[in-house]
């Protein structure tokens, strides 16, 4: 089986075999490329000679070559602002292994911070405002209720004291100094009434009263408290207040009052919710009050003012409010 030779195989034959060692097929192949045995032999010797040849080593590269190249490299890869940007947006990831991610994270954190600063506080403010508005609304409603209750309470308590004063006057008028013995008993009853009212007020969460600057709103109408001072049930019922009331009672003497003397009487219509001033005699006023008190619920009678017609009376006007056992006070007389 003959082997197919190529020109490139000649070098192998030249290295490995002398011309005489070639087989006929190889000789045939060699002679197609080499003219003679001598040439074959000469080429073979040349290969060995070349391989054995100690080639003159090239002189070493001058150090200046490397120095020049390194300076060229430095100038070519000079780091600067452009390199900084290239690092940031480097196509080659090996360039931005740390810097670009750090910048990206910093930007992300900054944007997040700005968003938090801009949006979240405003939302909190809105929520806070809404909460405050609700609280104020609730507070306003409670104040309106308080104002309403307080007005009623104030009138009630004022009425209590003034009824007492009026009754004292009436007692004095009616009996002309002959029933003083019963007065102290009535005062004691009045004080019991005050205690009862106090208990009721305690159950109603101890109203705090109104300042003269408070403005209450009921059914869309603005109500300004009548009295400039703060009045609370507790204050009204304090011992100090009672002492003042008793002093007032002393000042409220109407020595010359007669049954037919006319007084201003505020009649309060519960259903209509209005007060009307009527001029009645003292006797008629008492009768009217007694009728009202005996025939209706005392709580429905809110207030009544009695105006003394006596010029000698130092107190021109007192407020009269009904209270629980006002009926007893009147019916006694």
């Amino acid at each position: 089986m003959s082997k197919i030779y190529h020109p490139e195989d000649l070098e192998v034959l030249l290295r490995e075999k002398t011309y005489d060692q070639l087989v006929p097929e190889e000789v045939e192949f060699v002679l197609r490329h080499i003219q003679s045995k001598e040439e074959y032999t000469q080429m073979r010797q040349l290969i060995f000679q070349i391989e054995e040849q100690e080639w003159d080593a090239a002189p070493p590269v001058a150090p200046s070559v490397k120095a020049d190249l390194m300076s060229e490299f430095k100038s070519k890869n000079k780091k600067g602002f452009t390199i900084w940007l290239n690092s940031l947006f480097a196509r080659n990831k090996s360039h931005n292994w740390g810097f670009a991610p750090a910048v990206r994270w910093s930007v992300a954190v900054a944007v997040l911070g700005v968003l938090v600063y801009v949006f979240i506080p405003s939302q909190l403010d809105q929520e806070t405002l809404a909460d405050n508005f609700k609280e104020e609304e609730i507070k306003d409603n409670s104040q309106v209720e308080t104002a309403t209750d307080e007005l009623a309470r104030k009138r009630k308590t004022e009425s209590a004291s003034q009824v007492k004063e009026i009754e004292k006057d009436e007692i004095q008028i009616d009996n002309n100094g002959n029933i003083e013995a019963e007065l102290s008993e009535e005062i004691l009853e009045y004080e019991e009434d005050i205690s009862t009212a106090k208990s009721e007020e305690t159950l109603n969460n101890n109203s705090t009263g109104l300042m003269n600057t408070d403005i209450a709103q009921v059914d869309g109408e603005i109500i300004i408290p009548e009295e400039p001072t703060t009045i609370s049930v507790s204050d009204f019922e304090s011992e100090e207040f009672l002492e003042i009331a008793e002093d007032d009672l002393a000042d409220m003497e109407i020595p010359a009052a007669q049954e037919d003397d006319e007084i201003g009487y505020y009649d309060y219509d519960v259903e209509e919710g209005v007060e009307s001033l009527e001029e009645l005699s003292v006797e008629r006023a008492k009768e009217s009050s007694a009728e009202n008190l005996s025939s209706t619920n005392f709580d429905l009678i809110q207030s009544a003012d009695v105006v003394s017609k006596k010029e000698s009376n130092t107190i021109n006007s007192v407020s009269l409010s009904t209270f629980a056992n006002l009926n007893d006070l009147f019916t006694t007389y």
Binding site: P7, E8, T41, Q42, Q53, W55, A58, V61, V65, S94
Partner: protein, 191 residues
């Protein structure tokens, strides 16, 4: 020292990638590995002209600096570098007629010297061999120098020159045939 050891352990291709990214140490390591090889190559290819060989050595590394992206990552770096060097030499051969002129002059000298071939020695044969190499065409000379002076394998030369391994062997054979003819007067020395 740690960095130096690290760079010495890197492959040519890794160093080239680092160098193209501006790594000065990588470039320095590449230079240390190949500068003398290139010097030798150019020296032998360019008529043992030291100055020219040095210029060409600097030029080829300058190409690496200025145009690192031209490095074909699919190729072995050494093969790519030799191919660049071979092309540089080819261009040098083309743009200068030194080869032919020198060949003519040397041929005349050779003829003179063959007459006194009996007294030749090894050193003289070396010089004559170098002269004969100039008679080869660029491809043949490149292959011959790569094979016999640079010690590259036929496979590597084929990769550098982007040709088949058979082509390389064929060029080697015809180079030997030409040289043998040119150095015929040394047949007594060769024997």
């Amino acid at each position: 020292m740690l960095f130096g050891k690290k760079y010495q352990q890197l492959s040519d291709e890794e160093l080239m990638n680092k160098s193209s990214d501006g790594d000065q140490r990588a470039f320095s390591e590449i230079y240390n590995r190949y500068s003398q090889k290139m010097m030798n190559y150019f020296y032998r290819m360019l008529w043992q002209d030291k100055e020219k060989a040095e210029d060409f050595t600097q030029e080829i590394f300058s190409k690496l600096i200025q145009q690192p992206k031209k490095f074909d990552a699919n190729k072995k770096f050494s093969s790519w570098l030799y191919s660049v060097a071979a092309n540089m030499c080819k261009n040098e051969y083309r743009h200068q007629e030194v080869v032919n002129r020198a060949s003519d002059e040397l041929a005349h000298t050779y003829d003179d010297r063959t007459e006194m071939s009996d007294g030749v020695d090894k050193q003289f044969f070396k010089s004559e061999l170098n002269r004969a190499l100039d008679l080869l065409n660029a491809d043949q000379r490149t292959v011959f120098i790569m094979k016999f002076k640079q010690g590259l394998k036929a496979k590597e030369i084929a990769e550098i020159l982007d040709c088949s391994e058979g082509t390389v062997k064929s060029r080697v054979f015809y180079s030997l045939k030409i040289l043998s003819k040119e150095l015929e007067s040394f047949k007594t020395y060769l024997k």
